[in-house]
Structures are given as structure tokens and as C-alpha cells.
Assembly symmetry: C2
């Protein structure tokens, strides 16, 4: 790509490192940006500059926001339900917020226990969670349904101990709109076990 | 998304307008950027700022570069073959350059004739092409093999007239690595007509 100037080349190279974009789609994106210079490239450049300055991690829950404590931790109505939802990642927090689950607070672990990858309890925000837990009535461990996620959930339950608030996890079952045919056996048997009366 | 600060929201909204990214992948991209602030977000912000200032359209061929005339038009060795390749779009020019087709020059039309979309000859860079054409030995019309592309090729051939340099088009045929089974009948019959001796 020596034919397109170092500034363009570097932009392609950086954009291709975003998830969901490869070298080919990064090139398409850059051409699109150049074509829509006034409507897209300049606003994006300004928005990135602003975000670089403004974005920070919430000192309480680990969410990303432009203020710390974040808007969720700063909202007193969020404390009323007494529910603290523990997630692996900010993406999971955003997914739950999009689902409109109501006035709850979150705690972002920043990952899951994974001895093979060298991720131990000290690499996650677990001590901060233990310190926050007594203020809440219920801790929902909304970690992913993977082996590492479940290990992390067990570890946190152990550390919280018997005197802690109620600890729950998300239900397993058939996804809404899902077809039984395509579901794995584990999910199906869990869904049958947890069946509810109509 | 009122829970993540206006700067983050705007960044997601702008990124989701890039080709290949929807709202969901734009959110993932923004989270990735925030996570890799020093390694990716700040360099990308700087690269975009630089590109906004540096990128321009080549006054001769319509390529995008950080100089005008672009590196291709400014390279005297490119003139030696006397071949001018006419493409619809800068993306096509880049695709041909990646294919390493050698020392050629290009002319970017900026689209194809499309009466239904209100695109006429005056909306394309055709007059500039006619002015450049006499300096070249061969004009290759590398427009897409669509109806609009072929119409545009016919129009340009007509306008160049009989006294012009040799006008050619790309060969139709079986793509390298392609399976006959998956090819349409038009391509197959063209490939048979243009068969070559082994």
C-alpha cells in the first residue's frame, strides 16, 4: 500500500485492529471516511479526541463513563432495590442495561478466573466486590455460562460466606425466540428441570 | 444508552455508520478502544486528525493520497507503458494496485452512468479522461461487469472516437480458484468463447 500516503496507511492499519474489521473492511471504511470527509471523518475525529479526554473507569463499579462515580453509581434511585449484579465485562453491563432490567447497580469483575491464562483472584475486582456486598440485599452473579464463569461464581460465593446477602445466578433455559431443535442437551435438561407452571 | 456519557454515545453512533459495522459491532469496537486506550484509541485519534488534514484528491486522476498529483501520477516510470486504466472508484484502483499489475496510470471516474439515479456524463470525470487519453497508447476500461458499468464503457468508447488510442476491457472468465459449479451461465459461456490454447 505504498501508493496511498503514510497517513492513510496508518489509519487502515489501526482500524483493522478493531473487532469485526479486517484489513479489507478497514480499507473500505477508510475510503468511506475519505468520501464523507465533512459528514463523517471530521465528526469522528472530533468525537474520538473528546472521548480520549473524557472517558474514565468508575472507581466504584468499573463501568466506563465520562464521570466517576459513573451515572449508575451516582443515581440514588439505583440503590433502592438493593440488587447488585456482578458481570465479567462492561459489554455485559451494557447488554443488561439495554434489556431494561430496572433500577439495579453493577460490579464489573474485569474478567474471569482462568489459571491457564494466569488470571487469579487478585487480577479481578473481587476485594472491591466483597467490600461493597454488605450494602446490598442480593448479589446476582451474571457471569457467562462458561466453565471459567461458573468457577468464578463459585469462588465469589465461597468468599462471600454464609453471613452474606442472598447470592443468585441467572436462569438457564430456552432463549426467547429460540428453537428446541438447535439447543444443546445441557440447556434443554436445565430448562426442563427449571420448568414453571403456566 | 443514556448510561454511558454523551461522548461515548456519539462515538458509537458515528462508528456504526462505517461500512461493515452496525450498532452492535460499533459498541464492541468502542469498548475495545476504551480498553486499549494507550495502544489503540489515542493512536487512532492522532491518525484521524492527521488524515483529515493530509488527505486530498489527486487533481489528475482522482485517486486519494496525501499529495496532489498523487504518488502514481507523480511517478515518471508509470508513464512508460502508456497504459491508462479507467476505474469507477478509488477502491478499484487500490484493488488493482494490490494485484501488482505493474507500471500503469489510472483514471477514477467517480461512479458509473445511471439515469435512474440521475447520474449523467457530467457527474463523472469523463471530460478529464478525454483530455488525458491522447497521451496514452492503450485505455483499459476496468469498470465493473454490471449493466451500468458496461453502459459507461460503451459511452466512453463512443466519446473517444476512432482516432483514439486502443481501447480494451478486462477479460471475462472463471475466477482463479473458482469452481465451475458455482458460476453463472453468462460467465461460463464468456469463458468458453474466450478459451485459450494450453
Amino acid at each position: 500500500m505504498a501508493f496511498a500516503g503514510p497517513e492513510i496507511e496508518q489509519l487502515i492499519q489501526l482500524l483493522s485492529r478493531l473487532p469485526g474489521l479486517g484489513p479489507r473492511s478497514a480499507r473500505r471504511a477508510v475510503l468511506h471516511l475519505i468520501k464523507k470527509k465533512d459528514q463523517l471523518m471530521i465528526p469522528l475525529s472530533t468525537a474520538l479526541d473528546r472521548a480520549v479526554i473524557a472517558v474514565r473507569s468508575c472507581e466504584i463499579c468499573g463501568n466506563v463513563d465520562t464521570q466517576s462515580p459513573c451515572a449508575i453509581c451516582a443515581d440514588p434511585r439505583r440503590a433502592e432495590t438493593g440488587m447488585l449484579i456482578v458481570v465479567e465485562d462492561v459489554a455485559d453491563l451494557w447488554a443488561l442495561e439495554r434489556a431494561g432490567i430496572g433500577a439495579v447497580r453493577y460490579h464489573v469483575l474485569g474478567g474471569v478466573l482462568s489459571p491457564l491464562d494466569g488470571v487469579g483472584p487478585d487480577d479481578l475486582s473481587i476485594e472491591a466486590l466483597l467490600a461493597r456486598a454488605p450494602q446490598y440485599r442480593e448479589i446476582v452473579l451474571a457471569v457467562n455460562a462458561t466453565v471459567e464463569g461458573q468457577t468464578t461464581a463459585h469462588y465469589i460465593t465461597d468468599r462471600l460466606g454464609p453471613g452474606a446477602p442472598k447470592v443468585t445466578r441467572l436462569a438457564h433455559g430456552v432463549p426467547v425466540g429460540g428453537e428446541l431443535d438447535y439447543l444443546d442437551e445441557g440447556t434443554l435438561s436445565q430448562a426442563l428441570k427449571a420448568r414453571t407452571q403456566i
